[in-house]
């Protein structure tokens, strides 16, 4: 069964948990494993944190949007902000690269997303915002058992 949801929320760090739990709850109808749930939670947290810290530089009055689409055996999550954008996407994706070393960022956000998801696409326009599209495939064998 195809399914879809959208959430929008303010750029407040307390909403990171809300976003993570909402996406996890939405995905649970696909009957994922705990590993898959935790991977999805982690990538949602990374992308939402990026939007808050980098996209909006911690201005709490901005909006973050998430769209999730489920088809038979895969999930697409799109996480979007309308903030500063990324000048050099190739540089941003490099492991350990961070533009905010003073905040003790690890620079591993995009690397984690690429590891846990089957596809990660970053679309970003300076001063317009950033849209991260991620796809995760769930094993057919498992979903067929239900």
């Amino acid at each position: 069964m195809n399914n879809e949801m959208n959430i929008t929320f303010k750029s407040i760090s307390a909403n990171e948990a809300f976003a993570r739990i909402s996406v996890a709850a939405f995905v649970s109808s696909l009957d994922p494993t705990l590993e898959e749930i935790n991977e999805i939670k982690t990538v949602v947290s990374e992308a939402v944190t990026n939007a808050i810290i980098h996209g909006y530089e911690e201005n709490p009055h901005q909006t973050i949007a998430i769209t999730c689409t489920l088809s038979e055996d895969n999930l697409t999550v799109i996480i979007e902000d309308f903030g500063l954008g990324i000048n050099n996407i190739d540089l941003a994706k490099q492991p350990l690269y961070t533009s905010k070393p003073e905040l003790e960022r690890s620079g591993m956000g995009f690397t984690i997303m690429e590891n846990f998801m089957d596809k990660v696409e970053i679309h970003s326009v300076p001063d317009e915002g950033t849209k991260v599209t991620m796809v995760k495939e769930f094993k057919k064998s498992k979903t067929l058992c239900n």
Partner: protein, 77 residues
């Protein structure tokens, strides 16, 4: 609604984070057991069925295991 709520009602609200952690530990143990039996990671429904919990209970317990600042952790402190 689920086992967690019943647990809390029986035990008093103060122990909520501990009871969630206990359920989280049960979930981890059952997960390992089922992984051996099935030869693959069990799904969230398979774990829920085996423990007679709801999927919602499992999600809540997993979130509580996730971080010490978890929302559930602070509910009664």
């Amino acid at each position: 609604i689920g086992e967690i709520q019943r647990f809390i009602r029986d035990d008093g609200t103060i122990k909520v984070s501990r009871s969630l952690k206990e359920i989280g530990n049960k979930v981890r143990r059952k997960k390992e057991e089922l992984t051996k039996i099935y030869g693959r990671n069990p799904t969230i429904h398979e774990i829920a069925d085996q423990l007679q919990l709801s999927v919602e209970d499992i999600l809540q317990a997993e979130e509580a295991m996730r971080s010490p600042q978890s929302i559930h952790e602070t509910i009664f402190e």
